[in-house]
Amino acid sequence: MSMSLLLLIVAAIGVAGYLAGSWRARGLAGGKLSNLHSRPGYYGSFVAICAMIPALLLLLAWSIASPIYIQSTIRAGFPESVKMQPEATQNLSYNMISAIARGLPRMTQEERRALAEDGASARTLLAAKGVPLASEPEPYMVQSAQDLDRATVASSLWRAVLVIAAAAAGAFLSFRLIAPRLRARNRVEGVMLGGLVAASSIAILTTVGIVASMLTEAAHFFNSVPAWEFFFGTVWDPRFAAAGATGSSGQFGLVPLLAGTLYIGFVAMLVAVPVGLFAAVYMSEYASRGFRSVVKPLLEVLAGIPTIVYGFFAMATVGPFLRDISAQISGLATGNYASFIQAQSVLTAGFVMGIMLIPYVSSLSDDIITAVPRALRDGSLGLGATRSETIKKVVLPAALPGIVGALLMTASRAIGETMIVVLAAGVAARMQLNPFEPMTTVTVKIVNQLTGDLEFTSPQTLVAFALGITLFVITLCLNIYALYIVRKYREQYE
């Protein structure tokens, strides 16, 4: 029985339970609803919940556990010769078996028999059914596949029977429980609260998922490449391995990538911090209300533009512009019209990223500056300070911790930014200081290593997770520290 049909049946039992429950409660009330503890709908919901939740949980558990159980029994039935093979080969064999098993239900009885008798024709036979195989299956595989198919069919049948039984039993038992004094509302609300808690725990689960998945994959990577070679290696040359050729080849040095990331981030901050801060100061201290209400949203448009658009802007407009203008400059200075800024460069990527970051700096700092109490401003103005003196000597120093926090958050965004650098920074992992040359970043390499055909066993792929966890840890530290500073800062003025 298919999953969707089963879900539909469970839902139908739930609806029926709801209707029956409310009907019964209404009957018990005898025309006076105040005889009941809760309104009839709650009794209905109570029955529906009792019917559906255990059944759905059972369904979930079964769907997770049964494939694992079936796989282990099938593999236990492998011939001894196969069991001697390495784990990876066994995995491949099992994948083939499950592919064959997928094809089986599409065959007629005769075809199945033919398959069992003549393993050699299996490949053509299956290909005709839309299941391509990489190689001829061995005879034991066909046998195992038949077992697998039988087990799967049986499992699916039992699953349907048990789940429907659970739903029906839940509905029946809870229906019997209905009495005027039953606190149906409290029970229903208890379940709702459980749902709310579950929803908020998704936030935790996401973090756990990020950390666990990246740690596992990164651990695989560190099995083939020593950690210190990754963290302190100064050469990045992963040398894409030919398919199947595993084992470490190439060098995975993080240092040049990190250098590029920090350099580009630094250039971006060099653009974004002064512009953003001055814009924020002007908005919060000088601008009239009308000016502010027009210009502030306009600047925030910059934050709403997707980074891919910035990337294209950098690649198609800013990069060529810088290249051409540098050619003109060098032509005027030396007579040799050779550009000294490359179209893809630290400067291009950093500059455009800086523009993207302006609204982050300005709106975060604007909030922080506005939080500085008016009394301090008045104190300074009352002594005859000009506005700019008040800002420079009183407001900004008072806001400094908060602004530092805001800048750290912005920096973490710069470090994690991907699309601009993918399109405008270049792919060469080099360590150098010339901002006019291309450099590459951690994020660029994550994208490079993971686009195209993946093999989840090669270090060339897995290194992306090691890079990812590095990126995650760096940005996490920056953010936690920034949040801490900003929180402290706000408490100070509350």
Binding site: L196, S200, T206, S213, T307, T386, R413
Partner: protein
Amino acid sequence: MSETSTTPPMTAIGISAAPARRDIGLGRRYAAERRFRLYGMAAIGFGLLFLFLLLFSVVSKGYTAFQQSMITIPVEFSEQVLDRNNERAANPQKLMTANYPIIARDALARQLGVTEGDRATLREISGMISDSVRAQLRDIVVADPSVIGTTRDVTFLAHGNLDSAFKGQIDLSVDEKNRKVSDRQVGWMNQLAESGVLAKHFNTGLFTNGASSRPEAAGVGVALIGSLYMMLIVLVLSLPIGVAASIYLEEFAPKNRLTDLIEVNINNLAAVPSIVYGLLGLAVFINFAGLPRSAAIVGGLVLTLMTLPTIIIATRAALKAVPPSIRSAALGLGASKMQTVFHHVLPLAMPGILTGTIIGLAHALGETAPLLLIGMVAFVADVPGTPLDPATALPVQIYMWANEAERAFVERTSGAIIVLLIFLILMNVGAILLRRRFERRW
């Protein structure tokens, strides 16, 4: 206390006279003040200038993508070419593999008055027609084989290079060898344009076609469907989960370390680089859970996780803005806490929640990096029927086109960006209107 020199001297005429003016450096200080103000204005000007430049560069490069040069000529479906030996009844494959571009080329040559052409001439004429003409004519013939042997007017796409030339994007002063259209082709182009055969039409293909290696036939149709699937998944999952989580945290959660942890967690998740979510999706949804690569469902799930923190933060702010007096009033009437929240607080907070959701969706719509990792950088020419089929997304399509070397793709890329920006503008304007319409001041 004795008189000091700073004490102003007195006079006895009723009004004190001004004391000697102290020099407090007013000129210098006001100059500094003006400079400071100027820096502020310059900073804002800089930001606005680049906003303008960015939009200008995209629009000026991309507006032409909404027009497409098309050639409308009578095409003779010559039996001689398509099915010389009249096998089509016996072998339907024959019509699928027939050489359709030739009849288009011949039709164009006839139109141009080139009767006797050598190979080079014919190749140049072929070069004016998009390769997509093969599929187009084939579809006409397969749908109705009786057209064979007749002549009918067909409108087909001009080749990408001709399209660029016709839109004036190719510098014709460059040496002929170094550009993609020859002088002869330009001459023909002008001839066709004069007779009205070659004309620019609104480019519907941009919105309906899928990926194509030929710029003139490439469109964002498939990408739009993929993005639509993902936005639906994000909306359906993240709105209820986000609202439920916010309700718990804001209304029910006890103040303890676990709640604190969740709060810090959510704030951090909002700041985790998007590419990390891509890694998560790759490792958990594809590698562990076995969902198909390149599928819209994986993209949707990844974007959901990414959007959740935004929605939670916005929803909590909206819930917080509902005054406590409303809660007390409902509780005082004997409503349970759950009823209070769902009957009174939540409806009042709804505009704020929806505004936050739309803004979260807009961010998700423009997000590219995580989708690259889960394999949505795929050449998908067919419309995905379900969220489990391979799909691509609008920003990923932009990324792929941006990496294409051909000149004509620059125009397409910018055009796709314009489409994306229009969607984002619509969503944001919607959010603003929603806020204006329902904004409540307590």
